[in-house]
Each structure stands twice: as C-alpha cells, then as structure tokens.
C-alpha cells in the first residue's frame, strides 16, 4: 500500500497507528497485570504499596491460603467449574454437531422451520430463561444439584448454527455418497467420516461453549444454594461480598481470580488457529 503514498505521510500514519494500538494494548493488559502483581503481595501490602509494582513476593503463601481456606472449598469450586465446562461443552458440541450435520446434509420437510426456531434461540437472553427454569426445576426437585447447572448448559443454538455451516463446507457430498454405497449406515458415516472432517470446527464450538459455561454466573446463582456445588465465578462473587466484614479475604479473592483466568487464557493462546477460523465462519455467511 505504501508504494503510492508519500513516504512521510506513511511514516506519520505508521507511528500514529502503532501508538494508538499500544495505548489500547495497555488498556487491555493493565487489569491482568495488576492482578498478577496483586496476587504476589501479602494482604497488608495491597493498600500500602504501589499497585503496579511488585513488593514482597508472597504468591505461594497466597496460593496456600487460597486452597486451604474453609476446608479447601476453592479447590472444590475449581473442580466444579472444570466439570460443568468440560462435560457440558463436550456433550453440547456432540449434540450440536449431530443436529447441525443433519440440517446441512439431510433434506427433510420442516428443515428450514426447525433451523429458524433454533436461530431464534440465539436471540433469547439466557438470563431471562434462568428464572422460569428455576421454577420448573424446583417443581421437579432438580434445584441445588449438579444437573440444574449442567443440563441447561449443554444447549447451544449458536453451536448448531456453526455446525451447520461447517458441515456444509467441510464435508463433501461425494464422500457421503460413496460411504453409503459401501453400505455404511448414517451414524457410521457420521462418526467415521464426517466427524473427522469436521474436527477443527468442532474444537471451535467446544471452545466457545467451554468459555460460555466457565464464565456463566447468573444460572448457577439462581439454581444453587449449596456452596459445595458452586463454580468458581459464584464462589469468588460470594467471597468478594464478604470482604467488607473479613478484609483478609481480599487477597484470596485476588489470587483466586488469577487462578481462574490463567488456564483459560493459556488454552486460547494455544488453540488460536481453531477459534480464529471459527470466528471467520460465524461472521461471514
């Protein structure tokens, strides 16, 4: 592009663009940097030292306090979050894939209607669903159980939407035809042929759903009273509300927040190429 613009102008815009992007990067990184610094400090240093500079390095003591507090309830919350998010996203991805694949590859009556209903589901605010779900679940005795959070989490209309797009573009009709000619049933064809072709896109769906469940807060808050069933978000929210009465909790809230975001950020950096293709597909068609 620069070959047609005068060199000086391009240098000015280059500097301006870089400066702007650096400012924005500082904005995006600052809270996380602050969290990292704060997680290494003893409680007493939080208010008395500069928030952006390291003081006494107490990270390991803080982690120890975090995981031993209230009989190790934080470890339990972390485990719950992993359970809700990994299992929920795995089941959710599988059922989205089956449905999206059928919507893309099988001609049947009412298919477009079905798809429109599912797409309509994307527009329904999930927080508006939580309260009526609570009423239904309390009538069936599901409130305050793992299932109360797990079951609604497996449904992802957006996952079906993505799966349909991916199946349409990644699975050539010819391959399905030849599998059928070889006498493979539809399920066999799906699991042995289509599933493999769709794998990169299924990772995308899994990732998005994993993050959505990991980040969910309103649903567990409505459904759960038992602390032992809480995910990390709800647990830390509750601790954060107690810091006014128990200021020593502050350091654990900070260290716990760091513990809860680092694994997810790492997964995202490692799996970049998957979610990037996912975003592209989701936005364009």
């Amino acid at each position: 592009m620069s070959d047609q613009t005068p060199i000086r102008e391009s240098r000015v815009s280059r500097t301006a663009a870089t400066a702007l992007m650096f400012l924005l990067a500082v904005y995006f990184l600052l809270p996380v940097y602050f969290l990292v610094v704060a997680a290494t400090k003893p409680q007493g240093d939080l208010a008395s030292t500069n928030g952006l500079a390291f003081s006494h390095f107490d990270l390991f003591a803080n982690l120890d306090t975090l995981f031993t507090r209230s009989d190790g309830i934080f470890g339990r919350w972390a485990l719950n979050s992993v359970l809700y998010a990994v299992l929920g996203a795995a089941v959710g991805t599988l059922i989205s894939a089956l449905c999206g694949y059928a919507l893309a590859k099988f001609p049947f009556r009412g298919r477009e209607f079905l798809f429109s209903v599912i797409l309509g589901g994307i527009l329904v605010p999930t927080t508006a669903l939580a309260l009526p779900l609570f009423l239904l679940f309390s009538a069936t005795g599901l409130v305050n159980t793992y299932l109360a959070v797990f079951l609604p989490s497996i449904v992802s209309p957006f996952g079906v939407y993505l799966a349909r797009i991916f199946a349409a573009s990644a699975v050539p009709q010819e391959i399905l035809e030849s599998a059928r000619l070889d006498g493979a049933g539809e399920f066999r064809t799906f699991f042995s042929v289509a599933f493999k072709l769709m794998t990169p896109s299924l990772v995308t769906i899994f990732l998005f759903q994993f993050v959505a469940i990991w980040n969910n807060f309103f649903l567990p808050m409505v459904m759960l009273q038992k602390e032992s069933l809480f995910p990390i978000t709800l647990g830390l929210y509750q601790w954060n509300g107690q810091t006014a009465r128990a200021p020593l909790l502050q350091e654990s809230v900070i260290t716990g927040s760091l513990v809860s975001i680092v694994p997810v950020i790492l997964v995202f950096i490692l799996l970049q190429r998957f979610w990037r293709t996912g975003l592209a597909a989701g936005s364009l068609r």
Binding site: M1, T18, M21, L24, A25, F28, L29, L30, P31, V32, F34, A47, G51, L94, I95, S96, L98, C99, A102, L103, K105, P107, F108, E112, L123, V124, P125, T127, A128, L129, L131, P132, L133, F134, L135, L136, I154, P157, R164, I165, A168, Q173, N216, F217, F218, V222, T233, L234, L236, Y237, A244, S257, I261, V264, I265, F268, G282, S283, L284, R285
Partner: protein, 316 residues
C-alpha cells in the same frame, strides 16, 4: 434472523440439488430424528418450555382471602402483572439506565473494535499477533472476575489508577452516583471490544486482495479503501456484533452486581435483570416472570428490528 438463515444455507442448496437427483430422498425419518433429537429435546425442555412457562406464570396473580393474614391462592389475572410492570417506576428506571448505557457503550465499543480491525488489516502495523491477542484476552475472563479486577482498580484505597490521577491533581470517584454507570460500561467495553474486533478482522481477511488493487488503480486513497470498500463489505459482521451487543446489554447482571458490593450507588434494581432477580427473591415469581418476558420481548424486537432495518438499508 431469516436473512442469516438463508445466507447460511445458500451454500448447501446446490449440493443438495445434485444429491436429490442422485439417490432420490435422503435417510429415513427415524434416522433423521436420531440425529436431531439429542439437541432438540434439551432445546425444547430448557429453552422453549421455560419460555412457555414464564408466559403462563406471568398471567397469574396471587390473591388473599380475608386481609393480610388470610390464605393466599393463585388465580388467572390476565395482563395484570404486565400492567404492574409498566407502572413500576423502578422498572422504567432500569430500562432508562440500560438504554443510556447501550446508546453510549455499544457504538463506542464497536467503533474502537472497527478501527482496530482496520488497522490490523493494513501493512502499517508490526507486532500484529501481540495486539490481536492482548485485545482478545479479556474474552477469556468471566464477567464476574473482570468486574472484581476493575473494582480494585476503581477502589480509592487500593487502585494504582486513582493514585496516578491524584498525582496529576484529579479527584476521580469511579463509584460515585454519576460515574458508576460508566465504570460498569468500561468493564463491558474491556471485556468485549477484542471479541468484536476479531469477528470484524476475520471478515476483513477473507476479502480478496484484487479488489484493493483495482481501487488503487482508480486512485483511491487508503482512507477511501477502508471506509468505502472494506467497511461496506464487512457490514454483515458489524450488524452481527451489534445484535450480540444489544442482547448482551439487556442481559447485564454480573458486572453491576459485583460493583454493587463496593458501591452504594448501585441499587438492587439497577438493571432489568437485577430487578427481576430481586423481585423473584421476594417470592413474587409471577411478577418476575412478567419482567423476564418483557426483557426477552424487548431484546427480540430490538435485535430483530435492527437486523431488518440495516439489511434493508444496506441491501445486505
């Protein structure tokens, strides 16, 4: 939504035509059902049934026989709950707040996201991967955690930002009555700008380069190429991010709920969802259901209306 739907299926249509000629009809209905039901059954149970149940509940009222201490019974009340919702000043307060929030926060966030995406798409920048990842990173942070992080950055006792601003003679009060809505908006902006930027950036990357070559031959400046060619082409993704942002704004709960823990300037009815939860905690489920239905309808009308409006105007 139908536009999205047809656009999504357009690619499928041709292969299907071929297929039908080939082997006439597809798998048996039972097989199709076996593929669709594992998703559709939970979808019905945890999406459609609660919507129906909320609608039903919202039409009921609880009445008492014989004064305050009489026995209560539930009966059909028609639109009574809705009349109450619309007469509730706290409801209108929460809608007004969220409306103001959305009118300011959504355009600001999407404009910043668009500028970032356009800059990342030019050869002007180096360190692109770094900029991209730093902006997207907040997406991995739960709303509750983001609000906790920012609440420490807002808190006068701990925040290095407050210290810095005091150093240059300012007296910031991020949790004051006039500022707290914008402090909440900042948390949302921080969380979602990078996500929206990446959706737009991905769309930009799939534009064929030849288009720019042609424009340059016609003497178009980089500026003109960006605003006249790139932006119109990626308009569908800008619409998509706007719709998701509208839905997100109307659902706002976690961020203000966390900031409420340190600021007395956020009431328990600050956003429509907080109002619904507060009403439900007071055991008035029918009223809470009516509020939920109203929130869902507003969301639906706004997102659908916006999609319609923009697709007509831009011929998308």
């Amino acid at each position: 939504m139908t536009d999205l739907a047809t656009r999504a299926t357009r690619g499928v249509a041709t292969t299907e035509g071929r297929r039908r000629r080939h082997n006439g009809g597809g798998p048996r209905a039972g097989t199709i059902a076996a593929f669709v039901t594992p998703f559709f059954l939970p979808f019905v149970l945890f999406y459609l049934v609660p919507i129906g149940y909320a609608l039903w509940q919202s039409l009921l009222v609880v009445r008492r026989t014989g004064g305050q201490y009489g026995t209560s019974y539930t009966t059909f009340g028609g639109l009574e709950q809705y009349t109450q919702v619309f007469q509730n000043t706290e409801f209108w307060g929460s809608i007004g707040r969220i409306g103001l929030f959305g009118i300011v926060q959504v355009p600001v966030m999407l404009f910043v996201a668009l500028v970032m995406a356009l800059l990342l798409d030019t050869p002007l920048l180096k360190l692109k991967a770094f900029f991209r990842i730093s902006a997207f990173m907040p997406y991995a942070v739960p709303g509750v955690i983001a609000a906790i992080m920012w609440s420490y950055l807002y808190s006068p006792q701990i925040s290095p930002v407050v210290d810095l601003l005091k150093g240059v003679g300012l007296q910031p009060d991020f949790l004051g009555p006039g500022a707290v809505l914008w402090s909440t908006a900042n948390v949302s902006t921080w969380l979602w700008t990078g996500y929206n930027m990446l959706i737009m950036f991905s769309a930009l990357q799939s534009i064929p380069q030849e288009l720019y070559e042609a424009a340059k031959l016609d003497g178009a400046s980089n500026w003109a190429i960006a605003w006249r060619i790139k932006v119109p082409i990626i308009a569908p993704s800008v619409v998509l991010t706007t719709v998701f942002s509208i839905i997100g704004t109307l659902q706002l709960y976690a961020e203000p709920a966390v900031l409420r823990q340190i600021s007395s300037n956020i009431s328990s009815t600050f956003t429509p969802n907080m109002l619904a939860y507060t009403v439900a905690s007071g055991n008035n489920y029918q009223q809470a259901a009516a509020i939920s239905v109203v929130i869902a309808v507003i969301t639906f009308v706004l997102s659908f209306g916006f999609m319609r409006l923009t697709s007509k105007r831009a011929g998308l």
